[in-house]
Symmetry: C2
Subunit: 547 residues, 2 copies
């Protein structure tokens, strides 16, 4: 148990067992030259140097919580609290590195089951203590920042002990999982019975089932398996207004789909304690391969044709010219010059990498689905690169967060952001965000690297995922990124959604009104008042006012 | 214009141009024998005999409404008001036949655009007048009953003049349609540009786009095209709290999906004025064919295997033994005894009819999709009946409501109800509802005919659609059905959803709490207060208290 709990104590992403991803000297040289990086290194400070304020949890509240959970599950030590001080955004990592002021919860609560979560909420209502539900701690939008709002104290409600597969209905293909179950563990529990969830976001190595539901997560294979909200058959929440269970049928016309209000509720409308998810037979076979399109627009057109032809591979990922270049340069798995020469011989001057991956229960199903995709792809100008590049992408699919630590050590400002729009507005959205990021991160004549890919495609549109690499402003690293993020978010507002799969959290809250309108904000606020009349649940996230 | 407006003046379903569906003497004989029907006929009374109370709309309200809409679009004559007095449930039809007391609106408002709808709401708030949004008037759950709640007057807000295709974005495959556009007209507008919506509920001949969205409609081809909520890319509503627009991207993690709160809001959370829908290329080819399974469970298993194999035909419809028998007996399109002999020769003693239909843009797409379905179907024990039976079903696909008028004339109590559940609970749900209906409609030793089919299948479960034929209790026809409906709804509660695609309306409201919980009801009530603080919108529907 304690191993599980300590698992979330981290200054870096790297989970135990997974290798960190250092930069090769070649990659580092290339990067220095591209973004004008200094030759210094700025490693993380030891956790012991971070200043942790004393716990502000009133004694009376602490006593009542201990009565519910037991003393060992009400932690007020600095290590436990520090481990739940925010998520994994660049801003979070910089704060943790530089001993800047962190929002540290006053205690960490570790309930073991849904009933204990409900009891904890009742205690917190009574003592007017703010509650931040905490899963894998992988939020990159300030979703688990220990903000206290108007409350005197704030606790992190860590769901790590809610880690059971409650039930599996193989005929209906529905599994009920407790919210704190990590994705890795869920796959293992389901895999033992021949099933998979098929949800593989980049946070896969740490994130939890409850976190996926709370944030409307999308995974790398969502083109095939659906977004997380598509998998949610039912949900159980603890709220100050009482327990709430939803999901008696696959579809219903019994009013609005309130499951879709619970999914994406970000801990502000209740604490998700169990999720009933649709599962599928674990695939026995898979195949990943790569293609190249010439230029962004022909790449987007190809993905659109696949989506509208309803023959998307489970993984469908198109990189723009900049991201393709970085992948070619940094991967080191192939000879870049030979690759370029080959592509030029096929008429491709501005390569955009398209990775397609299929999972299937049988060889014949895989062959049929792949054939259907390739039949439609033949109508585009895609050039085949083969399996090696596809499998290379696959083997590094969860490495991004680990690479980030290596980049941070080298003085790089590295962060991602994402959005989505309908097809007809996608290119304008990409240009606007790209320009905003380049303009705001240009320093001493050196431009940042701004990469973009489509990772999720729909019949009506697609997502855009941006990765930024810039030389860090060591004087004001937080301000540097906050200005860039603000510029990008302003560019997104009115053109696309402020987030396709990272959630609102604290960071996107100022732009939510532009997307859902004043009426939408009023409806969310009213729903919150109904379930959480005293406002203890995750203050400053999803529902205004912003911090 | 007036033609369109008068289109909704009806005592029967039959739209102009469509043929009524009289019963053949053979079918009538069979029916009499089966359900113990008297030889009397009970035709509808002329509309002119129905009593219409005087309009209770205050003069001051009327004057303000006339100022906004013009006098010709504020109708208080008996004919216009009677035409919007309720929907098309059996109860509605019986009320209209027997001159029983109808809930008649005090006026009919006919705005021409979203701005006028918004202006109407502001007038109605000012004068505290209840507003019932009205589309095709095909609700079978009391969704358009002119209930006045606590208000002194109630108006029907008929959206028939909002009938435009506002825009079409062919690249994104999104069409924006005004809410009052009838499905038939929408198909015609889209078809002229090569697209289809693909939404074909049995109400297709009358229902509107706004009604589909307000009720979370599902159509006969929803297995292929998706339920209506899957098609909604965006929505525009008029509310007393102001205009509300949603839907900037195909998917989003910007908090709960509020589109899914607007879809299914049944006029109680706003008046839907425009819907952005996902469209698809109009199919050039189609094929409908029939199969037979031996017994309900093997039929359900076959449909489940198709759904979980993700190779469902666009139309997938499985009838139980009773419904199959009625279809064989009443259709008259083939020799029943020869058919039965053929089936017995193939080992089928308890035939359950399975109709599959595919729509496709090309012959090769149709062939590929059909081959994928049949490949999986081969693993079941389905016996092929061929195209004639499939095409026969297709040609009568919208005839149900018209047949109902003929049955009513003959003294039959005829009504439908529907639910859905996960696969593992489906058979118990069917048995429980069936028993409840048979028990409560048994009269003088004669059992009703209770038929059931699966019309919508999902990976995790399916819908059940029941049709009831019983000899009408001429002394208390309303009470007879209300008791049966109550028994069926009690049987559904806890086993499935109270409605898979008919909405809550007034009729299902008493069972909504069992499905969404007290917290769910509180959230809906809070959302309503946020958008409709004085409660003018569709009183007594969706949000309690029940009438």
């Amino acid at each position: 148990m304690s191993g599980l709990i300590e698992h979330t104590l981290r200054g870096t992403w790297t989970p135990s067992g997974a290798a960190a991803a250092p930069l090769s000297p070649r990659a580092l040289r290339w990067l220095r030259q591209r973004i004008g990086l200094a030759e210094t290194t700025t490693p993380a400070v030891p956790t012991s140097l971070l200043e942790v304020p004393d716990s502000a949890l009133p004694d009376a509240a602490r006593e009542d919580l201990v009565a519910v959970l037991g003393a060992e599950h009400v932690r007020t030590d600095a290590a436990a609290r520090l481990a739940r001080a925010g998520g994994m955004s660049y801003t979070d990592l910089v704060r943790r590195r530089s001993a800047a002021e962190l929002a540290v919860p006053d205690a960490v609560l570790l309930p073991a089951d849904p009933e204990a979560v409900q009891a904890v909420l009742e205690v917190c209502v009574r003592h007017d203590v703010a509650v931040v539900p905490f899963g894998g701690g992988t939020s990159v939008v300030g979703g688990v920042d220990a903000l206290r709002g108007s409350k005197a104290a704030v606790v992190a409600l860590d769901l790590v002990r809610l880690d059971r597969l409650v039930s599996l209905d193989p005929g209906s293909r529905i599994a009920v999982l407790q919210a704190g179950t990590r994705a890795v563990e869920a796959e293992s529990l389901l895999g033992a019975q021949g099933f998979t969830l098929g949800h593989f976001p980049q946070s896969f190595e740490r994130a939890t089932i409850g976190g996926f539901a709370a944030t409307r997560s999308a995974g790398q294979a969502s083109s095939g398996y659906g977004r997380f909200e598509d998998m949610v058959a039912g949900v159980r929440l603890a709220t100050p207004a009482g327990e709430w269970r939803l999901g008696v049928a696959p579809a219903s016309a019994a009013g609005p789909d309130l499951r879709q209000l619970a999914v994406g509720s970000e801990g502000a409308l209740g604490v998700i304690t169990e999720v009933a998810v649709r599962v599928r037979p674990a695939p026995e076979h898979s195949r990943y391969e790569a293609f190249v399109l010439d230029g962004w627009q022909s790449g987007v057109d190809a993905v659109r044709v696949l989506a509208q032809g309803r023959v998307l591979a489970d993984v469908t990922r198109l990189s723009d010219v900049d991201e393709t270049e970085v992948q070619f340069e940094l991967a080191g798995a192939w000879k870049v010059s030979a690759l370029r020469a080959f592509l030029r011989s096929r008429g491709v001057r501005r390569p955009c990498l398209l990775v397609l991956g299929w999972d299937a229960a049988s060889r014949s199903e895989l062959a049929q689905r792949r054939a259907a995709t390739l039949r439609v792809l033949r109508g585009t100008r895609a050039v085949r690169l083969g399996r090696a590049v596809g499998e290379n992408w696959r083997s590094h699919r969860f490495a991004g967060p680990r690479q980030r630590d290596a980049l941070l050590d080298r003085g790089v400002c590295v962060e991602t952001l994402e959005t989505a729009a309908h097809w007809s507005g996608l290119s304008e959205l990409r240009s606007a965000v790209r320009s905003a990021l380049v303009r705001s991160l240009r320093r001493d004549g050196a431009d940042p690297i701004v990469m973009c890919h489509v990772s999720h495609a729909y019949e009506t549109g697609a997502s855009l995922y941006f990765t930024v690499l810039a030389a860090r402003d060591e004087q004001d690293p937080l301000g540097q990124w906050q200005r860039a993020k603000r510029a990008a978010s302003d560019a997104i507002a009115g053109r696309g959604t402020i987030t396709h799969h990272h959630a609102v959290g604290a960071d996107h809250l100022p732009w939510l009104g532009a997307e859902i309108g004043a009426v939408g904000e009023a409806v969310l606020a009213a729903a919150k008042r109904a379930v959480d009349p005293t406002g203890i649940l995750n203050p400053g996230k999803l529902v205004g006012p912003a911090r």
